[in-house]
């Protein structure tokens, strides 16, 4: 394996791992706000790592700059979108889930 291959493999593995965490979080977490956490943070880092792998693949060239631009763009827009959604949820009066809700209402440990 060449250094490039190792770097790409590590970055892709990291990207897939964090995106996987984001997916699991989206399914497992109890309410809108907590799911937004998972989607905004883990997904952004996962995408960032995967796009870093893309940048490494293209080498020092214009596409690398574009990939970097894409990463930058995602790091700005993903939290903004998450914030917009969370605020929309708050405006609609959706109450955040707390630990007490689980003890009184839920049965899954």
């Amino acid at each position: 394996m060449t250094p490039t291959e190792i770097a790409v493999a590590v970055l892709i593995a990291g990207g897939v791992f964090f995106t996987f965490v984001a997916g699991v979080g989206l399914l497992r977490l109890p309410d809108v706000y907590t799911r937004t956490h998972s989607a905004s943070k883990s997904d952004t880092l996962g995408a960032g790592l995967a796009l870093a792998a893309v940048a490494v693949t293209f080498g020092a060239d214009l596409p690398t700059v574009k990939a970097a631009l894409l990463v930058l763009f995602m790091f700005v827009t993903n939290p903004t979108a998450a914030h917009a959604i969370a605020r929309a949820a708050a405006d609609q009066g959706i109450e955040p889930w707390t630990v007490d809700d689980d003890e009184s209402g839920g049965g899954n440990e």
Binding site: P63, A81, A88, Q92
Partner: protein, 91 residues
């Protein structure tokens, strides 16, 4: 010869699988915002998949498409959030 395209394609397929799982949240809801978050996450994954496939097949133009898709994805989230606040929901 090089393993890089294979690694990239393997990564892309993993992203596709995760997106399919997240699709459950889009269908299940229960609230509007859950769906928007899930669609947004899938959109982010699609951007990554576009870039990965582009890199694997050595098609730099795919990155331009990815950038435009990322823009649209962001606008979608903002527009729907705004809409649900001012109009009480679109779906």
């Amino acid at each position: 010869m090089s393993l890089v395209p294979d690694i990239l394609l393997a990564g892309a397929s993993a992203f596709i699988l995760i997106s399919l799982v997240v699709l459950y949240r889009v269908l299940d809801g229960p609230t509007m915002q859950d769906r928007v978050i899930a669609v947004n996450a899938i959109g982010t994954n699609i951007v990554v998949i576009l870039a990965l496939v582009g890199a694997a097949t050595d098609t730099p133009a795919a990155l331009d498409i990815a950038i435009v898709y990322a823009l649209l994805n962001f606008l979608m989230s903002i527009a729907i959030s705004k809409f649900t606040v001012e109009r009480g929901g679109v779906l």
